[in-house]
């Protein structure tokens, strides 16, 4: 059953009966607790009491949590309602997504004052992100008006308050501001006429929600659509007037786990940790029946039977994910020829072989095959979601590869698209033109791998690719993708510094910054923007320092970094710069670029910080290499 109005999260495995006993045992045992264990505990469908207990347990384990599975995040919660239930639930749900969240909540009704006061505890907390969760009451939206003008005035006043909060938070250095929409009331004012009455409370609330969308666009803020959540579970269920009067709880407590999970999905996406690839089983997941036994004529797919339509809907859902850049892969226990047969010959298949970036059909265990898929695509296993109708396969993959998202889809294929969608694995906070191309790029990469096998000599191979590299300063058109790369790239990233879209925009006009966005096309397709470099003027007058240098792993070993450096040196010479400094700051994921500067001919100056190194290049002594690509450089208006 898929009943979100019950407050359950059906795509997660049910909580174990001994959940509290497990927590107690964790606390009682001495020594470090693997962060991974907490992620696994949180990955269950936990009700509010269990979320509260888990959060309490994590508090007691402070200082003993060990391992790279959790990364810290400081969040300010500016809610004009009781947060005592929401805050622990958000912290516990975020564990599910690899985030250990610390929250700060201003005293009731003090949010605006703390935002505006430079000496406030909110400012001192150092939040990276802030959630603005107003209520209609707190924004003065309390009654319906017979005249539209009075309603419009109330909307304008509410919008002004929200704008002031967003600008105040951003002015206070909180990079990411999340605006929560206002759920519409369940009960009518004038009845069926409400939809047409501009002064109705519902119309005012809808108008403020629209204003929030505009605010997100104009201020590079992020939307959290609580109104959509209330509609999902039913507004009459969502609102609990008694609870509001009694305890200023803004919605029925049964939905706190759903609310917290959806919010944690947004936090995960903001951290660039959203999944990138959907791995599909074949038999009884992409079609009904077993291709090896039932043959092409025996499997159920397409119009004509309820089952066939359900499987077609799954395929179409997968294609809708591919449309926004999610990579599709296949992992099936089958003979490869059998597994591919429907893709090649069945007329009712929506998925074609060209849609699948990596196709693995063999008799090896699925956990190993999934690891292989991650390796071929050059992404972490935490970026994979595995869809399989077989509960045993799901359980095994969960056990072997706990970072892989494995929705507990049950046995009714009609529900699989909803399970994937509500699971929020591929949550995003923005879509760029490059997203649409990404799946195609991964597929083209697989072709390149095949091409290389037949060519042999690597330089010949690179030349055969007909690469064209375009380098330009940051601009408005590329900004969303630039910010996305800055926030998502982990492996080829020298400093792992994260910047918001607003900050990226500011750098564009900052005379102390020299910025580069790098694009690459080749004969297999357009890779889009694949590298971002930010240089800043150093304290030393004739030097620049690389603040950020990152590159998508899709184009590793294509000598793009050499083309980038050649361009930087040319710009440096033009600006009278003699030295380029570069830092390597280690993270759990960027070991591959430890010797990046060394390979490019920089001289090592020595260690900095926690295991980092500083390097220098004398511009005068640099000779540009002969590169296997054409290079088009667009010079900035001012550097």
């Amino acid at each position: 059953m898929f009943d979100l109005s019950s407050g359950k999260l059906p795509w997660l495995v049910p909580a174990t009966a001994d959940f509290r006993a497990t927590l107690k045992a964790l606390i009682a045992a001495p020594g470090p607790v693997p962060a991974q264990d907490l992620v696994a505990l949180a990955a269950q469908d936990l009700d509010l009491n269990k979320l509260t207990s888990l959060d309490k347990a994590v508090g007691k384990l402070a200082g003993r949590i060990d391992g790279p599975a959790l990364s810290p995040l400081k969040l300010a919660l500016l809610a004009q309602a009781t947060t005592d239930y929401i805050a622990p639930a958000i912290r516990a749900s975020a564990l599910r997504h690899g985030l250990q969240v610390e929250t700060y909540v201003p005293a009731y009704g003090q949010a605006m004052a703390e935002v505006m006061d430079p000496g406030s505890p909110l400012r001192g907390f150092g939040a990276e992100m802030a959630l603005i969760a107003e209520t209609p009451q707190s924004l003065g939206l309390t009654r319906s008006f017979i005249d539209a003008a009075s309603g419009a005035a109330a909307v304008a006043s509410a919008t002004a308050t929200l704008t002031a909060l967003v600008e105040g938070l951003q002015g206070a250095g909180i990079k990411t501001v999340i605006l929560q929409t206002l759920p519409l009331p369940a009960d009518p004012w004038a009845g069926q006429y409400d939809r047409r009455a501009k002064g109705a409370l519902a119309a005012q609330i809808a108008a403020v929600n629209d204003a929030m969308v505009d605010l997100c666009d104009s201020h590079a803020a992020v939307l959290f659509d609580a109104e959509a959540l209330s509609a999902l579970v039913g507004r009459a269920n969502w609102h609990d007037a008694g609870l509001w009067h009694r305890a200023k709880v803004p919605f029925a407590l049964d939905y706190v786990p759903l609310y917290a999970e959806k919010f944690a999905q947004v936090l995960r996406a903001l951290r660039g940790k959203a999944s990138k690839c959907l791995v599909l089983d074949l038999d009884n997941t992409c079609w009904g029946g077993i291709i090896g036994d039932d043959g092409l004529e025996g499997i159920e797919i397409g119009q004509g039977s309820a089952q066939g339509e359900a499987f077609l809907a799954i395929q179409n859902y997968a294609l809708s994910l591919k449309e926004r850049g999610v990579v599709l892969a296949v992992c099936s226990k089958n003979e490869e020829a059998n597994g591919k047969l429907p893709f090649e010959q069945h007329p009712d298949m929506a998925l074609k072989l060209d849609d699948i970036a990596v196709f693995v059909a063999n008799w090896t265990d699925k956990a190993s095959n999934i690891q292989h898929i991650a390796k071929v695509l050059n992404i972490g296993t935490d970026a994979l979601v595995f869809l399989d109708d077989n509960p045993a396969e799901r359980a095994r993959v969960r056990m072997e590869l706990p970072m892989v998202g494995v929705p507990e889809v049950g046995d009714d294929p009609s529900l699989y698209p909803a399970m994937l969608a509500q699971g929020g694995y591929f949550e995003t906070v923005g879509l760029s033109a490059d997203d649409a191309q990404r799946a195609e790029q991964y597929r083209a990469n697989a072709q390149r791998a095949v091409a290389m096998e037949t060519i042999g000599n690597y330089d010949d191979y690179l030349r055969s690719l007909d690469m064209a590299c375009t380098i330009a300063p940051f601009d408005a058109v590329g900004r969303t993708r630039t910010a996305q790369l800055i926030n998502k790239s982990n492996q080829f990233n020298l400093t792992t510094r994260r910047y918001t879209e607003a900050e990226v925009a500011a750098m564009q006009d900052d005379p102390a910054c020299h910025t580069l966005q790098v694009r690459l096309t080749d004969k297999f397709g357009d890779n889009g923007m694949i590298s971002v470099v930010i240089l800043r003027k150093d304290a030393e007058p004739d030097a620049w320092v690389f603040d950020t240098w990152l590159m998508s792993c899709r184009v590793l070993k294509r000598r793009v970094e050499e083309a980038t450096l050649a361009t930087v040196v040319e710009a440096a010479r033009a600006a009278g710069i003699g030295k380029l400094y570069g830092d390597y700051l280690p993270s759990p994921k960027n070991g591959m670029v430890e010797d990046h500067y060394g390979k490019l001919g920089f001289e090592k100056l020595g260690p900095i910080g926690d295991g980092g190194t500083r390097w220098v290049l004398e511009v005068a002594g640099y000779d540009a290499p002969d590169l296997p690509m054409t290079l088009a450089v667009q010079t900035p208006v001012s550097a």
């Binding site: 269990k50 207990s53 239930y85 008694g242 305890a247 049964d254």
Partner: protein, 80 residues
């Protein structure tokens, strides 16, 4: 429903909500007697009971609850 079986079920709910074990609960127990029983956990307790028995309490009824025995009596009245 008989008092004993309601009480048994309530102890389970109580332990789950309060995240506490082996709490001594008698008809006369009040929030003052249990450390974890504060105004916040009380709201969660009420919601958990409502869900368990498929009933809904009014604020007036909730305000009338002074001790553990009151909760049992109210459940019997509402759930029949």
């Amino acid at each position: 429903m008989d008092t004993a079986s309601i009480k048994e079920e309530l102890v389970d709910i109580f332990e789950d909500v309060m995240d506490a074990d082996d709490v001594e609960l008698t008809d006369e127990t009040t929030a003052n007697d249990v450390e974890e029983w504060d105004s916040l956990s009380h709201v969660r307790l009420i919601i958990a009971i409502e869900r368990k028995y498929g009933i809904k309490f009014s604020n007036a009824e909730i305000e009338g609850l002074k001790k553990f025995g009151d909760i049992i009596t109210l459940i019997q009245t509402k759930a029949g």
